[in-house]
C-alpha cells in the first residue's frame, strides 16, 4: 500500500504547494478538490493507532483514489483568485473546510467498517466530533470574512454557503443521535456511514469544474 500511497502523497502535496504559492497572498478558491485527497492521505498515514482496521483503511484509500481522479479530470482551479481573498480569514476558511471534510470522511469510513464487521465500534464518533469542530470553525471564519469584506453575514453571490450549512445540520443531527443514545448503535453507524455520500455530494462535487481531458 505504502508503495503507491507515499509517492501519490508527495505528488499531491507538491501540486497543492505549487498552486497555493502561485496564488499567494490570495486564496485559490477552487483548490479544495485537489487538497482533500492529500488531507485523507495524511490522516491515514498519521493515524497508525487503528491501522489494523483493514476495512476502514480500504474504504479511505478507495475514496482517496476516487477523489484524486475526479479532481484531476474535473479541475476548476483555472479561475484567477479574487482580491477580496487577500485576508487570513479566507485561508482559515479553506484550511478548516478541508480538515472538516477529511474528518467527516474518516468518520464515515470507520462507521462503514464497523457495519461490515457486524460490531459497530464507536471510533467513528471521535472523527465526527473533530469534523464538526473544524466545520464550525470553517463557517465562522467564512462569516468573519463575509463581514469584513462585504459587511453582511452572508454573501449571496456564492451558493455553496447553503451546502456548507446543510452539511453542518446533517452532522448536528448525527451528534445528537449519538450523545442522547437515540437509535441503536447499528442504526447510528449506518447514519454516520451515509455521511460519506453527504460530504462528497454537498461539499466536493460542487467544487468540480467541467471535464478537461489531460492528454
Amino acid at each position: 500500500m505504502w508503495l503507491f500511497l507515499l509517492p501519490g502523497l508527495f505528488a499531491n502535496a507538491a501540486l497543492v504547494f505549487w498552486r497555493y504559492s502561485t496564488a499567494w497572498p490570495l486564496m485559490p478558491m477552487y483548490l479544495g478538490p485537489a487538497t482533500l485527497p492529500l488531507c485523507l492521505g495524511l490522516l491515514i498515514t498519521l493515524n497508525r493507532r487503528r491501522a489494523d482496521d483493514i476495512r476502514a483503511r480500504r474504504f479511505v484509500l478507495g475514496l482517496t483514489l476516487f477523489l484524486a481522479v475526479a479532481a484531476f479530470l474535473f479541475p476548476k482551479d483555472f479561475y484567477l483568485p479574487f482580491l477580496k481573498s487577500n485576508t487570513p480569514t479566507s485561508h482559515l476558511f479553506f484550511l478548516f473546510k478541508t480538515l472538516g471534510q477529511g474528518c467527516f470522511l474518516f468518520s464515515a469510513a470507520w462507521a462503514w467498517a464497523g457495519l461490515l464487521s457486524g460490531k459497530p465500534q464507536q471510533f467513528w464518533f471521535r472523527w465526527a466530533v473533530w469534523g464538526f469542530a473544524f466545520w464550525t470553525l470553517c463557517m465562522f471564519s467564512g462569516m468573519l470574512w463575509s463581514y469584513l469584506g462585504w459587511g453582511s453575514p452572508v454573501v449571496w453571490d456564492d451558493a455553496a454557503i447553503t451546502l456548507i450549512m446543510a452539511t453542518w445540520f446533517f452532522y448536528i443531527s448525527l451528534l445528537h443521535l449519538h450523545l442522547t443514545g437515540t437509535w441503536t448503535a447499528q442504526a447510528r453507524a449506518a447514519y454516520a456511514a451515509s455521511g460519506a455520500f453527504v460530504v462528497v455530494t454537498l461539499s466536493f462535487l460542487p467544487d468540480l469544474g467541467p471535464l478537461r481531458w489531460p492528454f
Binding site: S21, A23, W24, G151, I172, H176
Partner: protein, 279 residues
C-alpha cells in the same frame, strides 16, 4: 419550571418542544431545504443579491413574493430556523435548570464542562438572532462613490467622511502574469470628521472602518492597474451600514467557539488516569 408543573397543558407543550426527535427531524429538514436552496440560488443568484441591501421584509414583499418558485426555500428556511431556535432553547433550558438544581453534586470545573454544550446552544440562538436583526434592522447605503477631496455625511449625524488619497499596493511577483502591475491591496486614506474632532483612517478590502456606529466597507475602486489605462481617475465605491446585529452574531461566534473548546478539552482530558474511550 414550577409554573409548568402546575399547568399540565404548558408542561405537555414544553416537553414536546424539548424533544430530541424534533431536533433530528428539524436538522434533516434544514439540510434538505438548504440543499434545495443551492439549486435555486445557483439558477437565480440575481434574485438574492439585493437581500443584503434592502433588508428581509422589503425583500420578501418584492423579490420573495413575486418569485415564489425560486424563493420558497428561503421562506421555509426562516420557519424551520425559528422552530429550531425554539426547540434548542426549550431543550437546553430544561437541562440547564436540571444541572443548576443538582449543582452541588459537581465540582466547579466539572459543572463548567457540563455546561459547555449548553453554551453552544445558547450561542447558536444568539447568532441566529443577530442574523435576523441584521437582515431586519440594518440601515444600508449602497454604492456611495467618492473621488479624492470629496466627502459625504453620515445620515442622522453631522459626521463626515472625506476621501483624501489612494495609495494601493501593486502585485510584485511574476507567478501570476494576469496580475502584473495590478493592485493587490487597495488602500484609501480617509479623514473622519466629527465636529472639531478629526481622525485619519485607512480603508481597504477586508479592513472596514467603524465610525459613529457605522461600518464603512470598500466595495470597489479605480484604477485597478498602475497607470490606469482608460480608467485612470481615482475613485472608491463604499457600502455604509449601521447594523445592530453584528455585535450579537460576533458574540455568538465567540461563545460557540469557547463552548467547543471547553467540550473538546473535557473530552480529550484523561479520566482517572486513562483516556476517555471513544464513546
Amino acid at each position: 419550571m414550577a409554573v409548568l408543573d402546575t399547568m399540565p397543558i404548558f408542561s405537555y407543550i414544553w416537553k414536546k418542544l424539548a424533544g430530541i426527535h424534533l431536533t433530528i427531524v428539524l436538522c434533516l429538514l434544514l439540510a434538505a431545504d438548504l440543499s434545495l436552496g443551492y439549486v435555486c440560488l445557483n439558477r437565480n443568484e440575481i434574485l438574492f443579491a439585493p437581500l443584503n441591501d434592502v433588508g428581509l421584509i422589503a425583500w420578501i414583499n418584492t423579490y420573495g413574493r413575486c418569485n415564489l418558485k425560486s424563493t420558497a426555500w428561503l421562506l421555509a428556511l426562516l420557519v424551520l430556523l425559528t422552530l429550531f431556535c425554539i426547540n434548542t432553547f426549550v431543550c437546553t433550558t430544561d437541562r440547564v435548570a436540571r444541572l443548576i438544581r443538582h449543582r452541588k453534586k459537581y465540582p466547579r470545573l466539572r459543572l463548567l464542562f457540563r455546561l459547555a454544550p449548553h453554551l453552544m446552544h445558547y450561542a447558536l440562538i444568539l447568532i441566529l438572532t443577530g442574523y435576523l436583526s441584521s437582515y431586519t434592522f440594518a440601515r444600508v447605503l449602497d454604492s456611495r462613490t467618492l473621488v479624492p477631496g470629496s466627502s459625504l455625511r453620515l445620515p442622522g449625524t453631522e459626521a463626515r467622511i472625506q476621501f483624501q488619497s489612494f495609495s494601493p499596493d501593486y502585485y510584485k511577483g511574476s507567478r501570476m502574469p494576469a496580475f502584473d502591475q495590478h493592485v493587490i491591496r487597495p488602500r484609501a486614506r480617509l479623514l473622519l470628521i466629527d465636529g472639531d474632532h478629526h481622525r485619519k483612517a485607512e480603508l481597504s478590502y477586508n479592513k472596514p472602518v467603524i465610525f459613529k456606529n457605522y461600518g464603512i466597507f470598500l466595495k470597489d475602486f479605480a484604477p485597478k492597474k498602475k497607470g490606469g489605462g482608460m480608467n485612470s481617475n481615482e475613485r472608491i465605491d463604499l457600502t455604509i451600514r449601521k447594523d445592530p446585529g453584528v455585535f450579537l452574531y460576533m458574540l455568538g461566534m465567540l461563545l460557540f467557539t469557547a463552548g467547543i473548546a471547553l467540550y473538546l478539552t473535557d473530552w480529550m482530558a484523561p479520566k482517572n488516569g486513562k483516556r476517555r474511550p471513544d464513546e
